[in-house]
């Protein structure tokens, strides 16, 4: 009896030690696996869509604590075979815990195409911002897809003090001044739309003024509110498309054409 107990205990201990299960803290920023995900995917998509004027991309958002649904979305989008890249509208984590980012990164690394993820307000909690920056890179970034510049912005002003400019007009300015010559259109991706309380609403109009300065603005994409909505927020013809939470098992597909674009809502 005693011998059996000892053997069993040893076995359990051994099976556990063989896995990487030692954790210092849920917010320890101990990142295992891939880093610099945004940069790698930017290079990949810029190469893949070089010179193209028509392509298709999908958008998912607010995947916090929906690992099963996210996995299903990755499978569903891969299976279609016609999507060139995927955008994630932020909030991949619910608590900002380090492992949440790692789990989501590992699921989304299952995308056969390039994928990009903006920073959500939940991603900022605790040490979440630090984890995001290490795994993905800067929270304001942009990449070129064919003749379109996709500008991804951190708009979670509520989660920062004034030491960080949110939204980052300096970044928008440098983007505007350094646009690659092939760019004819622009798409914006953010987690929180202007006029939402997490956005710095003191600069709503200034933000939209900047957006309008970019060439051929197609639309703005965001998540956060877990709803499916389309609004002309500033009554200037620029549509803001909201992607619902992945919990609703919905993803959006945008087809960029030479003249205009198509918008689809896909249930999976």
């Amino acid at each position: 009896m005693v011998r059996r107990i000892i053997l069993l205990s040893l076995l359990t201990a051994l099976t556990c030690t063989s896995c990487d299960m030692f954790e210092a803290h849920p917010y320890d920023v101990n990142i295992t696996g891939e880093r610099g995900v945004t940069e790698k995917n930017s290079q990949k998509i810029e190469k893949a869509l070089n010179g193209k004027k028509e392509f298709k991309f999908a958008m998912i958002s607010d995947t916090q604590r929906c690992y099963d649904e996210t996995k299903d979305a990755v499978d569903a989008i891969n299976k279609r075979g016609d999507i060139d890249f995927v955008l994630h509208g932020g909030d991949q984590s619910d608590f900002g815990a380090t492992k949440e980012f790692i789990w989501m990164r590992d699921i989304m690394n299952g995308f056969v195409m390039s994928w990009f993820c903006v920073l959500g307000n939940h991603d900022c909690l605790g040490t979440g911002k630090e984890v995001y920056e290490k795994i993905y890179g800067n929270s304001d970034f942009a990449f070129t897809a064919g003749n379109v510049r996709v500008i991804c912005l951190n708009t979670n002003a509520m989660e920062y003090d004034y030491s960080n400019p949110i939204p980052n007009f300096g970044f928008l300015k440098s983007e505007l001044e350094n646009l690659p010559s092939e760019i004819e259109k622009t798409i914006f991706l953010m987690h929180v739309k202007p006029k939402e309380f997490i956005f710095n609403n003191n600069v709503n109009d200034l933000f939209q003024w900047y957006i309008n300065k970019f060439p051929g603005v197609q639309f703005c994409l965001y998540g956060h509110e877990h709803q499916l909505t389309v609004d002309d927020l500033f009554k200037d013809g620029i549509l803001y498309y909201q992607c619902p939470s992945i919990k609703d098992r919905i993803y959006l597909v945008f087809t960029i054409k030479e003249d205009g674009y198509d918008y689809e809502v896909i249930k999976f």
């Binding site: 005693v2 107990i5 000892i6 205990s9 359990t12 201990a13 556990c16 030690t17 896995c19 990487d20 299960m21 030692f22 954790e23 210092a24 803290h25 849920p26 917010y27 320890d28 920023v29 101990n30 990142i31 604590r65 929906c66 690992y67 099963d68 996210t70 996995k71 619910d94 608590f95 900002g96 815990a97 492992k99 949440e100 789990w103 699921i107 939940h122 909690l125 605790g126 040490t127 630090e130 984890v131 290490k134 509520m158 309380f197």
Partner: protein
């Protein structure tokens, strides 16, 4: 003058007589008083001794209370969501010492963040059984309990800061609640070889915290090795 003198004498005599009566009366009462005094006296003795007893008892219980606060053991723990390394003091109590309470200070290394952090853990364990194996070795086949951990860093809050609408996030990112089960091996140190502790207990624990339980709930993608974490530790029994 003579009258005055006389009256003085009379007064004196009267006072004397009266006072002698009083004395007599007192004398008459003396035995009773003595008897009473005896009682009082003996009572007083008891009272006096009980007063000093009360004092002794109070001092005794005062010392006992503070003595009970002397930690009975120290613990070192590796990992377990309370810092990569943590150590602290603890108390065991209960008829068979089956309860343990520990306070542990831990360190989270910097890893990829800007600063390293300190954490504080309050841990409560229950160790229901101890099985004698062979000389000096005892197996404690089950240890279970929970611990609360807090991080010292201004990135975390217990109550949401005022900038958020009330209950916006609905949780505290500073305080974590963990539950754990584990097993322990207790090794008694022979008296000759004792230095500062009388026994050494080696243990491992499998734990999970509130955030992971909530995450694993309704997600089959997450496997036990994702949301469970392992820790190893040592307990030094001082007395």
């Amino acid at each position: 003058m003579t009258m005055k003198l006389l009256s003085f004498r009379v007064y004196t005599i009267m006072i004397f007589i009266f006072s002698s009566f009083v004395v007599q009366a007192q004398e008459n009462e003396i035995p009773r008083l003595y008897a009473m005094n005896d009682e009082i006296f003996s009572d007083t003795v008891i009272q006096r001794s009980s007063h000093s007893n009360e004092y002794d008892r109070r001092i005794h219980s005062y010392r006992k209370a503070w003595n009970a606060l002397i930690p009975t053991h120290t613990k070192l723990q590796y990992a377990g969501g309370m810092g990569l390394f943590s150590g602290g003091i603890g108390w065991d109590y209960g008829k068979r010492g089956q309860w343990e309470t520990d306070i542990l200070l831990g360190v989270i290394p910097r890893y990829s963040s800007k600063h390293f952090k300190f954490t504080l853990t309050l841990k409560q364990s229950y160790i229901p059984w101890s099985i004698y194996l062979c000389n000096n070795f005892n197996l404690e086949p089950l240890e279970c309990g929970l611990y609360f951990n807090t991080v010292f860093s201004d990135k975390f809050w217990t109550k949401e800061p005022e900038r958020y609408p009330q209950g916006y996030y609905g949780f505290s990112n500073r305080v974590r609640t963990h539950v754990f089960i584990g097993q322990r091996l207790k090794i008694d140190i022979p008296e000759k070889a004792r230095f500062s502790s009388k026994s050494l207990t080696l243990f491992y624990e499998i734990s999970t915290c509130d955030l992971y339980v909530v995450s694993a709930f309704r997600n089959s993608y997450l496997k036990p090795e994702d949301y469970l974490s392992l820790s190893l530790g040592m307990k030094f029994q001082i007395f």
